[in-house]
Amino acid sequence: MTPTLKGFGRQFTPWAIPSLILLSWQILSWQGVIPSRILPAPTAVFQAGVTLLSTGELYDHISISLWRALAGFLIGGLIGFLLGLFNGISRISELLFDTSIQMLRNIPHLALIPLVILWFGIDEMSKIFLVALGVLFPIYINTYHGIKSVDKGLIEMGRAYGLRGAKLFFVIIFPGALSSILVGVRFSLGVMWLTLIVAETISAHSGIGYMAMNAREFMQMDVIVLAIVLYALFGKLSDVIARYFENKWLRWNN
Protein backbone atom coordinates (compact mmCIF):
# COMPACT_ATOMS: atom_id res chain seq x y z
CA MET A 1 0.00 0.00 0.00
CA THR A 2 1.29 3.44 -0.90
CA PRO A 3 1.32 6.02 1.88
CA THR A 4 -1.14 8.84 1.29
CA LEU A 5 -0.01 12.43 1.59
CA LYS A 6 -1.97 14.64 3.89
CA GLY A 7 -2.20 18.34 4.72
CA PHE A 8 0.98 20.20 4.02
CA GLY A 9 2.53 17.43 1.91
CA ARG A 10 -0.46 17.43 -0.36
CA GLN A 11 -0.37 21.18 -0.77
CA PHE A 12 3.35 21.32 -1.30
CA THR A 13 4.05 18.38 -3.64
CA PRO A 14 2.62 19.94 -6.85
CA TRP A 15 4.92 22.94 -6.35
CA ALA A 16 8.08 20.91 -5.69
CA ILE A 17 9.17 20.74 -9.34
CA PRO A 18 8.53 24.44 -10.17
CA SER A 19 10.42 25.44 -6.99
CA LEU A 20 13.32 23.15 -7.83
CA ILE A 21 13.57 24.56 -11.36
CA LEU A 22 13.44 28.12 -10.03
CA LEU A 23 16.14 27.37 -7.48
CA SER A 24 18.53 25.76 -9.97
CA TRP A 25 17.86 28.55 -12.44
CA GLN A 26 18.83 31.10 -9.78
CA ILE A 27 21.97 29.24 -8.75
CA LEU A 28 23.08 28.72 -12.37
CA SER A 29 22.57 32.42 -13.04
CA TRP A 30 24.65 33.36 -10.00
CA GLN A 31 27.41 31.05 -11.13
CA GLY A 32 27.32 32.70 -14.53
CA VAL A 33 26.48 29.41 -16.28
CA ILE A 34 23.39 31.09 -17.78
CA PRO A 35 24.40 34.51 -19.16
CA SER A 36 21.88 37.21 -18.32
CA ARG A 37 21.46 38.19 -21.99
CA ILE A 38 20.17 34.63 -22.71
CA LEU A 39 18.04 34.30 -19.58
CA PRO A 40 17.98 36.73 -16.66
CA ALA A 41 17.98 35.36 -13.10
CA PRO A 42 14.63 34.89 -11.32
CA THR A 43 15.59 37.69 -8.93
CA ALA A 44 16.15 40.03 -11.90
CA VAL A 45 12.74 39.11 -13.32
CA PHE A 46 11.20 39.72 -9.92
CA GLN A 47 13.02 43.03 -9.69
CA ALA A 48 11.66 44.05 -13.12
CA GLY A 49 8.19 43.15 -11.90
CA VAL A 50 8.55 45.31 -8.79
CA THR A 51 9.84 48.26 -10.82
CA LEU A 52 7.06 48.07 -13.39
CA LEU A 53 4.52 47.64 -10.62
CA SER A 54 5.74 50.79 -8.84
CA THR A 55 5.37 52.87 -12.00
CA GLY A 56 1.86 51.50 -12.48
CA GLU A 57 2.78 50.27 -15.96
CA LEU A 58 2.39 46.60 -15.07
CA TYR A 59 -1.02 47.14 -13.55
CA ASP A 60 -2.25 48.87 -16.73
CA HIS A 61 -0.97 46.10 -18.99
CA ILE A 62 -2.41 43.36 -16.84
CA SER A 63 -5.81 44.96 -16.44
CA ILE A 64 -6.19 45.63 -20.18
CA SER A 65 -5.17 42.03 -20.98
CA LEU A 66 -7.55 40.61 -18.40
CA TRP A 67 -10.35 42.75 -19.70
CA ARG A 68 -9.79 41.58 -23.29
CA ALA A 69 -9.62 37.97 -22.17
CA LEU A 70 -12.79 38.19 -20.13
CA ALA A 71 -14.83 40.18 -22.65
CA GLY A 72 -13.83 37.86 -25.51
CA PHE A 73 -14.49 34.80 -23.40
CA LEU A 74 -17.94 35.96 -22.33
CA ILE A 75 -19.03 36.97 -25.83
CA GLY A 76 -17.65 33.89 -27.59
CA GLY A 77 -18.66 31.57 -24.78
CA LEU A 78 -22.21 32.83 -24.73
CA ILE A 79 -22.62 32.53 -28.50
CA GLY A 80 -21.04 29.06 -28.52
CA PHE A 81 -23.20 27.93 -25.61
CA LEU A 82 -26.43 29.18 -27.16
CA LEU A 83 -25.62 27.66 -30.55
CA GLY A 84 -24.73 24.36 -28.90
CA LEU A 85 -27.92 24.50 -26.89
CA PHE A 86 -30.22 25.15 -29.83
CA ASN A 87 -28.51 22.66 -32.12
CA GLY A 88 -28.54 20.05 -29.39
CA ILE A 89 -32.23 20.47 -28.67
CA SER A 90 -33.76 21.39 -32.00
CA ARG A 91 -33.39 19.22 -35.06
CA ILE A 92 -34.23 22.12 -37.39
CA SER A 93 -31.62 24.39 -35.84
CA GLU A 94 -29.08 21.57 -36.09
CA LEU A 95 -29.81 21.03 -39.78
CA LEU A 96 -29.59 24.72 -40.45
CA PHE A 97 -26.42 25.63 -38.54
CA ASP A 98 -24.28 22.62 -37.73
CA THR A 99 -22.66 22.11 -41.15
CA SER A 100 -21.71 25.78 -41.40
CA ILE A 101 -20.29 25.82 -37.88
CA GLN A 102 -18.27 22.68 -38.52
CA MET A 103 -16.77 24.30 -41.62
CA LEU A 104 -15.86 27.52 -39.83
CA ARG A 105 -14.48 25.57 -36.89
CA ASN A 106 -11.73 24.07 -39.00
CA ILE A 107 -10.31 27.44 -40.03
CA PRO A 108 -7.50 28.29 -37.59
CA HIS A 109 -8.85 31.49 -36.10
CA LEU A 110 -5.35 32.96 -35.82
CA ALA A 111 -5.13 32.80 -39.61
CA LEU A 112 -7.68 35.60 -39.60
CA ILE A 113 -5.30 38.05 -37.90
CA PRO A 114 -4.40 39.93 -41.13
CA LEU A 115 -8.06 40.20 -42.03
CA VAL A 116 -9.04 41.23 -38.52
CA ILE A 117 -6.39 43.97 -38.46
CA LEU A 118 -7.75 45.33 -41.73
CA TRP A 119 -11.29 45.17 -40.39
CA PHE A 120 -10.84 46.50 -36.88
CA GLY A 121 -7.36 47.99 -36.86
CA ILE A 122 -5.29 47.17 -33.78
CA ASP A 123 -7.87 48.44 -31.33
CA GLU A 124 -9.65 46.50 -28.60
CA MET A 125 -12.21 45.19 -31.05
CA SER A 126 -9.72 43.06 -32.98
CA LYS A 127 -8.39 41.32 -29.85
CA ILE A 128 -11.83 40.70 -28.40
CA PHE A 129 -13.07 39.42 -31.74
CA LEU A 130 -10.23 36.92 -32.04
CA VAL A 131 -10.60 35.68 -28.46
CA ALA A 132 -14.37 35.33 -28.88
CA LEU A 133 -13.90 33.40 -32.11
CA GLY A 134 -11.35 31.08 -30.55
CA VAL A 135 -13.47 30.43 -27.47
CA LEU A 136 -16.70 29.92 -29.37
CA PHE A 137 -15.95 26.56 -30.98
CA PRO A 138 -14.76 24.47 -28.02
CA ILE A 139 -17.77 25.63 -26.03
CA TYR A 140 -20.10 25.00 -28.95
CA ILE A 141 -18.82 21.49 -29.62
CA ASN A 142 -18.93 20.40 -25.99
CA THR A 143 -22.33 21.92 -25.26
CA TYR A 144 -23.80 20.37 -28.40
CA HIS A 145 -22.22 17.01 -27.72
CA GLY A 146 -23.18 17.13 -24.05
CA ILE A 147 -26.83 17.75 -24.82
CA LYS A 148 -26.88 15.13 -27.58
CA SER A 149 -25.43 12.50 -25.30
CA VAL A 150 -27.73 12.93 -22.30
CA ASP A 151 -29.04 9.47 -21.43
CA LYS A 152 -32.25 9.01 -23.47
CA GLY A 153 -33.59 6.75 -20.74
CA LEU A 154 -33.44 9.58 -18.22
CA ILE A 155 -35.27 11.93 -20.59
CA GLU A 156 -37.94 9.28 -21.13
CA MET A 157 -38.22 8.83 -17.37
CA GLY A 158 -38.66 12.60 -16.95
CA ARG A 159 -41.44 12.66 -19.51
CA ALA A 160 -43.15 9.68 -17.92
CA TYR A 161 -42.97 11.49 -14.57
CA GLY A 162 -44.68 14.57 -15.93
CA LEU A 163 -41.74 16.85 -16.78
CA ARG A 164 -42.09 18.95 -19.90
CA GLY A 165 -40.48 21.91 -21.63
CA ALA A 166 -38.31 24.12 -19.45
CA LYS A 167 -38.66 21.82 -16.44
CA LEU A 168 -37.41 18.84 -18.41
CA PHE A 169 -34.50 20.96 -19.60
CA PHE A 170 -33.44 22.25 -16.20
CA VAL A 171 -34.00 19.03 -14.26
CA ILE A 172 -32.55 16.54 -16.74
CA ILE A 173 -31.03 17.85 -19.97
CA PHE A 174 -28.86 20.68 -18.66
CA PRO A 175 -27.45 18.85 -15.60
CA GLY A 176 -26.81 15.85 -17.84
CA ALA A 177 -24.82 17.98 -20.27
CA LEU A 178 -23.03 20.05 -17.63
CA SER A 179 -19.88 17.96 -17.25
CA SER A 180 -19.29 18.09 -20.98
CA ILE A 181 -19.98 21.83 -21.07
CA LEU A 182 -17.41 22.39 -18.33
CA VAL A 183 -14.82 20.41 -20.30
CA GLY A 184 -15.48 22.89 -23.10
CA VAL A 185 -15.06 25.83 -20.73
CA ARG A 186 -11.76 24.52 -19.47
CA PHE A 187 -10.44 23.90 -22.93
CA SER A 188 -11.59 27.30 -24.15
CA LEU A 189 -9.80 29.04 -21.27
CA GLY A 190 -6.57 27.70 -22.75
CA VAL A 191 -7.56 28.91 -26.19
CA MET A 192 -8.44 32.27 -24.68
CA TRP A 193 -4.92 32.90 -23.35
CA LEU A 194 -3.25 31.52 -26.45
CA THR A 195 -5.26 33.79 -28.73
CA LEU A 196 -4.69 36.80 -26.57
CA ILE A 197 -0.93 36.26 -26.40
CA VAL A 198 -0.62 35.94 -30.16
CA ALA A 199 -2.94 38.87 -30.87
CA GLU A 200 -1.20 41.14 -28.40
CA THR A 201 2.23 40.18 -29.60
CA ILE A 202 1.44 40.91 -33.23
CA SER A 203 -0.80 43.92 -33.03
CA ALA A 204 -1.35 45.99 -29.93
CA HIS A 205 -0.26 49.10 -28.12
CA SER A 206 -1.01 47.85 -24.64
CA GLY A 207 -1.31 44.58 -22.75
CA ILE A 208 1.12 41.96 -21.51
CA GLY A 209 1.96 40.77 -25.03
CA TYR A 210 2.70 44.32 -26.13
CA MET A 211 4.86 44.79 -23.04
CA ALA A 212 6.96 41.80 -24.06
CA MET A 213 7.28 42.90 -27.69
CA ASN A 214 8.20 46.40 -26.62
CA ALA A 215 10.84 45.06 -24.26
CA ARG A 216 12.36 43.09 -27.13
CA GLU A 217 13.10 46.36 -28.91
CA PHE A 218 15.20 47.47 -25.96
CA MET A 219 16.64 44.01 -25.19
CA GLN A 220 14.96 43.98 -21.76
CA MET A 221 15.19 40.22 -21.21
CA ASP A 222 13.86 40.47 -17.68
CA VAL A 223 10.59 42.08 -18.85
CA ILE A 224 10.13 39.49 -21.61
CA VAL A 225 10.53 36.65 -19.12
CA LEU A 226 8.22 38.46 -16.72
CA ALA A 227 5.51 38.50 -19.39
CA ILE A 228 5.90 34.76 -19.95
CA VAL A 229 5.72 34.08 -16.21
CA LEU A 230 2.57 36.19 -15.99
CA TYR A 231 0.91 34.17 -18.73
CA ALA A 232 1.80 30.96 -16.90
CA LEU A 233 0.33 32.31 -13.66
CA PHE A 234 -2.89 33.44 -15.35
CA GLY A 235 -3.21 30.11 -17.11
CA LYS A 236 -2.88 28.34 -13.78
CA LEU A 237 -5.36 30.72 -12.17
CA SER A 238 -8.06 30.12 -14.78
CA ASP A 239 -7.53 26.39 -14.40
CA VAL A 240 -8.01 26.69 -10.64
CA ILE A 241 -11.24 28.63 -11.16
CA ALA A 242 -12.55 26.09 -13.68
CA ARG A 243 -11.69 23.27 -11.30
CA TYR A 244 -13.49 25.00 -8.48
CA PHE A 245 -16.72 25.12 -10.47
CA GLU A 246 -16.30 21.53 -11.60
CA ASN A 247 -16.00 20.42 -7.99
CA LYS A 248 -18.94 22.55 -6.97
CA TRP A 249 -21.35 21.56 -9.72
CA LEU A 250 -20.29 17.98 -10.37
CA ARG A 251 -20.08 16.94 -6.74
CA TRP A 252 -22.33 13.96 -7.38
CA ASN A 253 -19.72 12.63 -9.78
CA ASN A 254 -16.92 12.23 -7.24
Binding site: G153, L154, M157, A160, G162
Partner: protein
Protein backbone atom coordinates in the same frame (compact mmCIF):
# COMPACT_ATOMS: atom_id res chain seq x y z
CA UNK B 1 -66.74 -7.66 -8.88
CA UNK B 2 -64.33 -4.76 -9.48
CA UNK B 3 -64.56 -2.64 -12.57
CA UNK B 4 -62.44 -3.22 -15.61
CA UNK B 5 -60.00 -0.33 -15.72
CA UNK B 6 -57.64 -1.30 -18.52
CA UNK B 7 -59.08 -2.83 -21.65
CA UNK B 8 -56.77 -4.00 -24.40
CA UNK B 9 -58.38 -5.04 -27.68
CA UNK B 10 -56.68 -6.64 -30.66
CA UNK B 11 -53.49 -4.69 -29.99
CA UNK B 12 -50.82 -4.81 -32.69
CA UNK B 13 -47.39 -3.32 -32.81
CA UNK B 14 -44.50 -3.85 -35.18
CA UNK B 15 -41.10 -2.33 -35.78
CA UNK B 16 -40.00 -2.31 -39.43
CA UNK B 17 -42.17 -5.22 -40.47
CA UNK B 18 -41.16 -7.21 -37.39
CA UNK B 19 -44.37 -7.95 -35.54
CA UNK B 20 -43.86 -7.63 -31.81
CA UNK B 21 -47.44 -7.75 -30.58
CA UNK B 22 -49.98 -9.60 -32.66
CA UNK B 23 -53.57 -9.23 -31.49
CA UNK B 24 -53.42 -8.91 -27.72
CA UNK B 25 -56.74 -8.94 -25.87
CA UNK B 26 -56.64 -8.39 -22.14
CA UNK B 27 -58.85 -6.91 -19.43
CA UNK B 28 -57.38 -5.74 -16.15
CA UNK B 29 -59.65 -5.07 -13.20
CA UNK B 30 -59.22 -2.25 -10.76
CA UNK B 31 -56.83 -3.15 -7.97
CA UNK B 32 -55.60 -6.23 -9.75
CA UNK B 33 -51.95 -7.22 -9.86
CA UNK B 34 -51.12 -8.77 -13.22
CA UNK B 35 -47.75 -10.25 -14.09
CA UNK B 36 -46.68 -10.69 -17.69
CA UNK B 37 -44.06 -13.35 -18.29
CA UNK B 38 -42.39 -14.68 -21.40
CA UNK B 39 -39.03 -15.28 -23.01
CA UNK B 40 -36.95 -12.24 -23.87
CA UNK B 41 -38.08 -10.62 -27.09
CA UNK B 42 -41.65 -11.91 -26.78
CA UNK B 43 -43.08 -8.40 -26.66
CA UNK B 44 -43.89 -8.16 -22.95
CA UNK B 45 -41.90 -4.99 -22.37
CA UNK B 46 -43.40 -3.41 -25.47
CA UNK B 47 -46.87 -4.10 -24.09
CA UNK B 48 -45.96 -2.33 -20.87
CA UNK B 49 -44.49 0.65 -22.70
CA UNK B 50 -47.69 0.90 -24.74
CA UNK B 51 -49.69 0.92 -21.51
CA UNK B 52 -47.50 3.75 -20.23
CA UNK B 53 -48.11 5.64 -23.45
CA UNK B 54 -44.39 5.84 -24.16
CA UNK B 55 -44.93 4.34 -27.61
CA UNK B 56 -47.80 4.30 -30.07
CA UNK B 57 -49.59 1.20 -31.30
CA UNK B 58 -50.38 0.37 -34.91
CA UNK B 59 -53.75 -1.22 -34.57
CA UNK B 60 -56.33 -2.07 -31.93
CA UNK B 61 -57.24 -0.22 -28.80
CA UNK B 62 -56.12 0.50 -25.29
CA UNK B 63 -58.85 1.95 -23.12
CA UNK B 64 -57.85 3.34 -19.74
CA UNK B 65 -60.66 4.18 -17.34
CA UNK B 66 -63.07 4.31 -20.24
CA UNK B 67 -60.91 6.59 -22.39
CA UNK B 68 -58.81 5.63 -25.39
CA UNK B 69 -55.11 5.99 -24.68
CA UNK B 70 -53.54 8.21 -27.33
CA UNK B 71 -50.56 9.82 -25.61
CA UNK B 72 -48.70 9.61 -22.33
CA UNK B 73 -50.67 7.76 -19.68
CA UNK B 74 -50.75 10.39 -16.93
CA UNK B 75 -52.44 8.16 -14.38
CA UNK B 76 -49.62 5.65 -14.60
CA UNK B 77 -46.12 5.62 -13.18
CA UNK B 78 -43.56 3.31 -14.65
CA UNK B 79 -40.55 1.83 -12.89
CA UNK B 80 -37.69 0.83 -15.14
CA UNK B 81 -35.27 -2.07 -14.93
CA UNK B 82 -32.29 0.28 -14.73
CA UNK B 83 -33.92 2.48 -12.09
CA UNK B 84 -33.14 5.70 -13.96
CA UNK B 85 -32.39 7.77 -10.91
CA UNK B 86 -30.83 11.13 -11.76
CA UNK B 87 -27.21 10.84 -10.59
CA UNK B 88 -26.99 14.60 -9.95
CA UNK B 89 -29.90 14.68 -7.55
CA UNK B 90 -29.84 13.40 -4.00
CA UNK B 91 -32.14 10.53 -3.13
CA UNK B 92 -34.87 12.75 -1.70
CA UNK B 93 -34.77 15.10 -4.71
CA UNK B 94 -35.02 12.13 -7.05
CA UNK B 95 -38.25 11.17 -5.37
CA UNK B 96 -39.46 14.75 -5.72
CA UNK B 97 -39.13 14.74 -9.54
CA UNK B 98 -42.38 15.92 -11.09
CA UNK B 99 -43.93 16.82 -7.74
CA UNK B 100 -44.91 20.35 -6.91
CA UNK B 101 -45.85 22.31 -3.84
CA UNK B 102 -44.65 21.13 -0.45
CA UNK B 103 -43.53 17.69 -1.62
CA UNK B 104 -40.76 17.03 0.87
CA UNK B 105 -42.84 15.44 3.65
CA UNK B 106 -44.55 13.20 1.10
CA UNK B 107 -41.24 12.18 -0.42
CA UNK B 108 -39.87 11.38 3.04
CA UNK B 109 -42.94 9.29 3.80
CA UNK B 110 -42.48 7.38 0.54
CA UNK B 111 -38.83 6.83 1.37
CA UNK B 112 -39.79 5.58 4.81
CA UNK B 113 -42.17 3.07 3.24
CA UNK B 114 -39.27 1.47 1.40
CA UNK B 115 -37.09 1.64 4.51
CA UNK B 116 -34.50 4.13 3.27
CA UNK B 117 -35.35 7.29 5.19
CA UNK B 118 -31.81 7.49 6.57
CA UNK B 119 -30.35 7.68 3.04
CA UNK B 120 -32.39 10.66 1.90
CA UNK B 121 -29.41 13.01 1.48
CA UNK B 122 -27.11 10.52 -0.26
CA UNK B 123 -26.17 10.58 -3.92
CA UNK B 124 -27.64 7.65 -5.88
CA UNK B 125 -24.12 6.44 -6.70
CA UNK B 126 -23.64 5.60 -3.02
CA UNK B 127 -26.55 3.13 -3.02
CA UNK B 128 -26.52 -0.57 -3.83
CA UNK B 129 -28.52 -1.92 -6.75
CA UNK B 130 -31.37 -3.02 -4.51
CA UNK B 131 -31.48 0.31 -2.69
CA UNK B 132 -31.59 2.17 -6.00
CA UNK B 133 -34.61 0.15 -7.05
CA UNK B 134 -36.28 0.81 -3.73
CA UNK B 135 -35.81 4.53 -4.32
CA UNK B 136 -37.22 4.12 -7.83
CA UNK B 137 -40.21 2.32 -6.33
CA UNK B 138 -40.73 5.08 -3.78
CA UNK B 139 -40.49 7.63 -6.61
CA UNK B 140 -43.23 5.83 -8.54
CA UNK B 141 -45.50 5.43 -5.51
CA UNK B 142 -45.19 8.99 -4.18
CA UNK B 143 -47.31 10.17 -7.11
CA UNK B 144 -50.12 7.92 -5.87
CA UNK B 145 -50.74 6.70 -9.41
CA UNK B 146 -53.82 4.80 -10.50
CA UNK B 147 -51.56 2.35 -12.29
CA UNK B 148 -48.16 1.05 -11.36
CA UNK B 149 -46.19 -0.34 -14.29
CA UNK B 150 -43.11 -2.36 -13.42
CA UNK B 151 -40.70 -3.13 -16.27
CA UNK B 152 -38.51 -5.97 -14.99
CA UNK B 153 -37.65 -3.84 -11.98
CA UNK B 154 -35.75 -6.61 -10.23
CA UNK B 155 -34.04 -8.10 -13.27
CA UNK B 156 -30.61 -6.75 -12.41
CA UNK B 157 -30.64 -7.69 -8.73
CA UNK B 158 -29.16 -10.71 -7.00
CA UNK B 159 -31.46 -13.53 -5.92
CA UNK B 160 -31.65 -12.64 -2.21
CA UNK B 161 -32.29 -8.94 -2.79
CA UNK B 162 -34.90 -9.93 -5.33
CA UNK B 163 -36.90 -11.99 -2.84
CA UNK B 164 -36.70 -9.13 -0.34
CA UNK B 165 -37.93 -6.67 -2.96
CA UNK B 166 -40.73 -8.98 -4.03
CA UNK B 167 -42.17 -9.10 -0.56
CA UNK B 168 -41.75 -5.32 -0.27
CA UNK B 169 -43.67 -4.82 -3.52
CA UNK B 170 -46.33 -7.27 -2.38
CA UNK B 171 -46.80 -5.58 1.00
CA UNK B 172 -46.86 -2.06 -0.47
CA UNK B 173 -49.34 -3.22 -3.09
CA UNK B 174 -51.69 -4.85 -0.57
CA UNK B 175 -51.82 -1.61 1.44
CA UNK B 176 -53.32 0.42 -1.39
CA UNK B 177 -54.19 -2.15 -4.05
CA UNK B 178 -53.00 -0.01 -6.94
CA UNK B 179 -53.73 -1.65 -10.26
CA UNK B 180 -50.31 -3.02 -11.17
CA UNK B 181 -48.71 -4.66 -14.17
CA UNK B 182 -45.36 -6.37 -13.67
CA UNK B 183 -43.25 -7.54 -16.58
CA UNK B 184 -40.74 -10.18 -15.60
CA UNK B 185 -38.90 -13.22 -16.93
CA UNK B 186 -38.90 -14.77 -13.48
CA UNK B 187 -41.93 -17.05 -13.17
CA UNK B 188 -41.46 -17.51 -9.43
CA UNK B 189 -41.51 -13.73 -9.01
CA UNK B 190 -44.73 -13.53 -11.01
CA UNK B 191 -46.43 -16.18 -8.88
CA UNK B 192 -45.13 -14.56 -5.69
CA UNK B 193 -46.75 -11.18 -6.28
CA UNK B 194 -49.49 -11.40 -8.92
CA UNK B 195 -53.20 -12.20 -8.87
CA UNK B 196 -52.95 -13.33 -12.45
CA UNK B 197 -50.07 -14.41 -14.66
CA UNK B 198 -50.16 -13.79 -18.41
CA UNK B 199 -47.78 -15.64 -20.68
CA UNK B 200 -46.89 -14.03 -23.99
CA UNK B 201 -45.29 -15.97 -26.81
CA UNK B 202 -44.45 -14.50 -30.19
CA UNK B 203 -46.67 -11.49 -29.57
CA UNK B 204 -49.72 -13.49 -28.47
CA UNK B 205 -51.19 -14.34 -25.09
CA UNK B 206 -50.97 -18.09 -24.72
CA UNK B 207 -51.76 -18.46 -21.03
CA UNK B 208 -53.89 -16.47 -18.62
CA UNK B 209 -53.65 -18.03 -15.18
CA UNK B 210 -55.33 -16.81 -12.02
CA UNK B 211 -53.14 -17.45 -8.99
CA UNK B 212 -55.57 -18.47 -6.29
CA UNK B 213 -53.16 -18.32 -3.36
CA UNK B 214 -53.64 -16.38 -0.14
CA UNK B 215 -51.29 -13.48 0.70
CA UNK B 216 -48.61 -13.14 1.82
CA UNK B 217 -47.48 -15.87 -0.52
CA UNK B 218 -45.39 -18.65 0.92
CA UNK B 219 -42.88 -20.03 -1.52
CA UNK B 220 -42.49 -23.32 0.26
CA UNK B 221 -46.14 -24.26 -0.16
CA UNK B 222 -46.71 -27.01 -2.61
CA UNK B 223 -49.48 -25.12 -4.37
CA UNK B 224 -47.00 -22.32 -5.03
CA UNK B 225 -44.53 -24.59 -6.77
CA UNK B 226 -47.29 -26.27 -8.73
CA UNK B 227 -48.21 -22.91 -10.26
CA UNK B 228 -44.58 -22.11 -10.99
CA UNK B 229 -43.95 -25.43 -12.64
CA UNK B 230 -47.10 -25.34 -14.69
CA UNK B 231 -46.20 -21.93 -16.16
CA UNK B 232 -42.57 -22.91 -16.64
CA UNK B 233 -43.59 -26.11 -18.45
CA UNK B 234 -45.78 -24.11 -20.73
CA UNK B 235 -42.93 -21.69 -21.52
CA UNK B 236 -40.43 -24.43 -22.15
CA UNK B 237 -42.92 -26.35 -24.25
CA UNK B 238 -42.78 -29.38 -21.98
CA UNK B 239 -45.87 -31.51 -21.34
CA UNK B 240 -48.35 -29.28 -19.61
CA UNK B 241 -50.43 -32.07 -18.16
CA UNK B 242 -49.86 -30.91 -14.63
CA UNK B 243 -52.42 -33.24 -13.07
CA UNK B 244 -50.56 -36.24 -14.35
CA UNK B 245 -47.26 -34.90 -13.04
CA UNK B 246 -48.78 -34.22 -9.63
CA UNK B 247 -49.93 -37.81 -9.40
CA UNK B 248 -46.54 -39.14 -10.32
CA UNK B 249 -44.86 -36.87 -7.77
CA UNK B 250 -47.02 -38.19 -5.00
Amino acid sequence: MEQITIKIEDLQKSYNQLTVLDGINLDIREGEFVAIVGKSGCGKSTLLRLLAGLETYDHGNITIQGKKLTSLNRQARIMFQDGRLLPWKRVIDNIGIGLSGNWRPRALEALKNVGLEDRCDDWPSKLSGGQKQRVALARALVHEPDFLLLDEPLGALDALTRIEMQSLIESLWSRKEITSVLVTHDVEEAVAVADRVILIEEGKIVLNKVIALSRPRVRTHQAFSVYVEEILDRIMGRSNDSDLRLVSKR
